[in-house]
């Protein structure tokens, strides 16, 4: 029987959640015995090749492309996991939500203290996805099955969640794996 497939993506995140995934250390060998990676930065596969058992999505939705990738994940994954605080609640990127989009762009590309941009242009290449008015948590855009909190969630929590979901049971996270102070 084919191994179940797993897919991962980083949307408006810092890749920290993916780093934490790699922190499972040698268990990664066990993981690839259990699953095949489909679309994921880990194998650099850009498009889905088929149905996946589990999708791990880091980061919220900050732009149109994020939304489209997320919808694609929802269509292809049996179980969709919001990996980390950005995915769950918007996280750090959502700090811009109280500021009008135009001001954010001007501050980032023109007015910020550390910005050197003599022409004052704000990047606007058609290749650049348009930004959403606000950064959204995944659950604003699609149905999310599992939320894994943490910034990032510890490797042990990710390991437990992924193995549990592959076995078809609910993850059993210990207090230590959910405590962050």
């Amino acid at each position: 029987m084919d191994k179940p497939k797993i897919a991962t993506a980083s949307l408006a995140g810092c890749f920290g959640c993916h780093m934490s995934l790699l922190d499972i250390d040698e268990r990664i060998l066990k993981l690839i015995e259990l699953v095949d990676f489909d679309k994921s930065p880990i194998d650099d596969l850009k498009t889905f090749t088929g149905r996946c058992r589990v999708g791990l999505v880091e980061g919220g939705c900050a732009n149109q492309e994020n939304v489209e990738v997320l919808r694609d994940f929802r269509k292809h994954c049996d179980v969709l996991v919001a990996l980390g605080d950005c995915a769950t609640m918007g996280g750090l990127p959502a700090m811009r939500n109280g500021i009008p989009l135009r001001e954010c762009l001007e501050e980032a590309y023109r007015d910020g203290l550390t910005v050197h941009n003599p022409s004052g242009t704000i990047p606007n290449d058609p290749e650049i996805p348009l930004l959403l008015d606000k950064v959204r948590p995944l659950s604003d855009v699609v149905k999310v099955d599992v939320f894994l909190p943490g910034c990032p969630p510890p490797a042990d929590a990710i390991w437990e969640a992924v193995t549990a979901l592959l076995e078809g049971r609910a993850p059993n996270l210990t207090y230590d794996q959910l405590k962050y102070d």
Binding site: Q64, V67, E68, R71, R74, K75, L80, P100, L101, R102, L105, I122, N124, P126, L130, L131, L132, D133, K134, R136, S139, D140, V141, V142, K143
Partner: protein
């Protein structure tokens, strides 16, 4: 407009003897005279009544009819009750906006006319209706709205809009010239005649305890909604220790669709005062208060006239009906636009000149009420029933109705019916009989007891109007074929969001969340999971809220999901995991404007 604010405020404070509990009257007067209660005015009121400034500001910021920012000398308040809405209120609103050149919430550039929405003003049987300052204007059409606007813009006063009423000196004729009483069916309790003083004299012939026994024997239950036995309430108040006791008549009538107290106060106020007087005798009170909702200000002159007449007849004042030692008088306290002030403990707070927020219960008002003294708060209609009980005897009263619901009940009927208005019926009527009576046989839904009550569909039309089955404070709204019950629920949630006093989070926040999700479903962006979410959230709000408002406010959704499920499901999208509530085009609109290019759709 009076010229000197300080003098005006000192005068008003002096009229009330500098009494702190009359704060609401003082700020209402300021609002009326100056169009708002300015920061300076709040300081002056605080000084004049020896209260802290924050207490004044607390009151001014709390009530809908008070404002810190200037409003027009003329404020048009268009009722946005569902009954008014289904009779064309939205077109009327648009006509007002167009004719005045302002939007709702705005004031004309010359600062003269303000246009607002307001929750149900109790004119549901002759809507769409509006209040122009205190003057009610009924049966509005877009044409009439334009005419009203034209006259006001031309500088005419609100009373000029109702010339017949303006030119009538007799107070009750004036009320009749403004609004219709629309009594469709008179029963033997509330609308039957009784010579003033008859019940009071009968009561005075016996002991206070005998009055209480008679009312208990009649099994009269309160008509304000909760249905508490009136005799028992009076007995508690009589037995509670206290050097002073109070009788309060709850005429706040704010439940959307209820207007029977307005009609009682118009047609038979003597019976109400009669009931209050014998209640005072029964519990040992010397003072009574009618708490009249601000929307009914136009009834005040009429009520004052009746009170004055009763004083000259010796039925109020010292030695009532010649009984030495029984002194009793009644004053009218006008509210300032807050539905929650119908809740008896909030009403008491408001009558004491504070923010009308509910108190913790217990203690109940019968032991710690107005000015912390034992107080019986009863509904307008309850007093009428009690007067009839004492006049005709408990057995005569309790021989109509059902075992647990004795006597008659006034129903305020509005919505999709041929004959809206007031009906005095015997308890025990089935909804089917009710619909035949009012001309609403094709109804798809009946909202019994207003939004905080029960909403039923045809499957339950054999149920009965009675405390033990379908209880109602009087509001009966009928919805006919083609009405969208999800839309109706969304309107009712607007009402509760607006009227939550904000004290406790489940109600203050929960109702906003419920409304947001209902609106999402209504807009076609809901999914089945939203229904499950609503069910959980409604349970939380009902269980966790502090007072009756939050404990019932989710009812339009609860009964909607229970009794009108297909109507709700028809609005839902497929359960494909993509959340239709997320509107990408709307979320990208800012970026499209900034970047000057359209999004690329895959």
């Amino acid at each position: 407009m009076p010229t000197d604010l300080a003098v005006f405020i000192q005068d008003r404070a002096r009229e009330h003897g500098g009494d702190r509990t009359r704060l609401l009257d003082v700020v209402r007067a300021v609002q009326e005279a100056f169009g708002h209660v300015s920061s300076e005015a709040m300081d002056l009121v605080a000084q004049a009544l020896s209260v802290r400034r924050v207490e004044v500001e607390g009151v001014v910021s709390y009530y809908a009819f008070l404002s810190r920012e200037p409003k027009g000398q003329v404020v048009i308040r268009l009722s946005d009750c569902p009954s008014c809405r289904i009779h064309g209120m939205e077109a009327v609103g648009a006509a007002f906006e167009e004719a005045l050149g302002i939007r709702f919430g705005g004031t004309t550039p010359d600062g003269r006319i303000t246009l607002e929405h307001t929750p149900c003003i109790g004119l549901c049987d002759q809507g769409p209706a509006a209040l122009v300052n205190e003057v009610p204007i009924t049966r509005l059409t877009p044409g009439k709205a334009r005419e009203v606007s034209r006259l006001l813009v031309a500088g005419r006063t609100p009373w000029d809009l109702a010339p017949k009423a303006r030119d009538t000196a007799d107070p009750v004729a004036r009320v009749h010239a403004l609004v219709d009483s629309n009594i469709r069916k008179e029963g033997l309790v509330v609308f039957a005649p009784m010579p003033p003083g008859q019940a009071v004299r009968k009561a005075l012939a016996g002991t206070p305890e005998a009055v209480i026994e008679e009312v208990k024997a009649s099994r009269l239950c309160g008509r304000g909604g909760a249905g508490f036995p009136a005799g028992l309430k009076w007995e508690f108040a009589r037995k509670a220790p206290g050097d002073a006791k109070y009788v309060i008549c709850n005429a706040d009538e704010g439940e959307p669709g209820t207007f029977k107290d307005r009609v009682i106060l118009t047609e038979n106020p003597d019976l109400v005062f009669e009931g209050m007087t014998l209640a005072a005798y029964a519990i040992g009170a010397a003072e009574g208060i009618v708490y009249l909702r601000a929307e009914y200000e136009y009834l005040r002159a009429h009520l004052e006239a009746v009170l004055a007449r009763r004083r000259t007849e010796g039925l109020l004042g010292r030695a009532v009906a010649g009984r030495a030692g029984f002194d009793f008088d009644i004053r009218i306290q006008v509210g300032a636009g807050a539905y929650i002030c119908g809740e008896e403990s909030a009403l008491i707070e408001s009558a004491e000149g504070k923010r009308g927020v509910p108190r913790n219960r217990p203690p109940f008002p019968v032991t710690v009420g107005y000015l912390d003294k034992p107080t019986s708060v009863n509904n307008v209609e309850t007093f009428c029933c009690a007067a009839r009980v004492v006049d005709t005897g408990a057995s005569c009263f309790s021989c109509v109705g059902s075992i647990r619901s004795t006597g008659t009940k006034l129903l305020s009927v509005s919505g999709d019916v041929a004959r809206p208005g007031i009906y005095e019926v015997q308890f025990g009527q089935s909804i089917r009989e009710f619909l035949e009576m009012v001309g609403g046989e094709d109804a798809i839904a009946v909202q019994v007891g207003g939004p905080s009550g029960t909403c039923i569909g045809p499957a339950e039309f054999e149920r009965h109007i009675a405390f033990e089955d379908l209880a109602t404070g009087g509001s009966m709204m009928v919805f006919g074929p083609g009405r969208d019950m999800v839309q109706v629920a969304a309107w009712f949630m607007d009402f509760f969001v607006h009227e939550s006093c904000g004290w406790c989070t489940p109600c203050r926040v929960g109702n906003v969340l419920i409304r947001e999700r209902v609106q999402r479903i209504l807009a076609g962006r809901g999914v089945p999971a939203d229904v499950a979410y609503l069910e959980t959230l409604c349970t939380t709000v009902k269980k966790m809220s502090r007072c009756g408002l939050g404990q019932t406010s989710p009812n339009p959704v609860v009964f909607g999901l229970k009794n009108f499920r297909p109507a709700w499901e028809a609005h839902l999208g497929p359960d494909d995991g993509l959340n239709p509530a997320f509107d990408m085009d709307a979320a990208l609109a800012d970026a499209v404007r900034i970047a000057g290019r359209e999004p690329v759709h895959p």
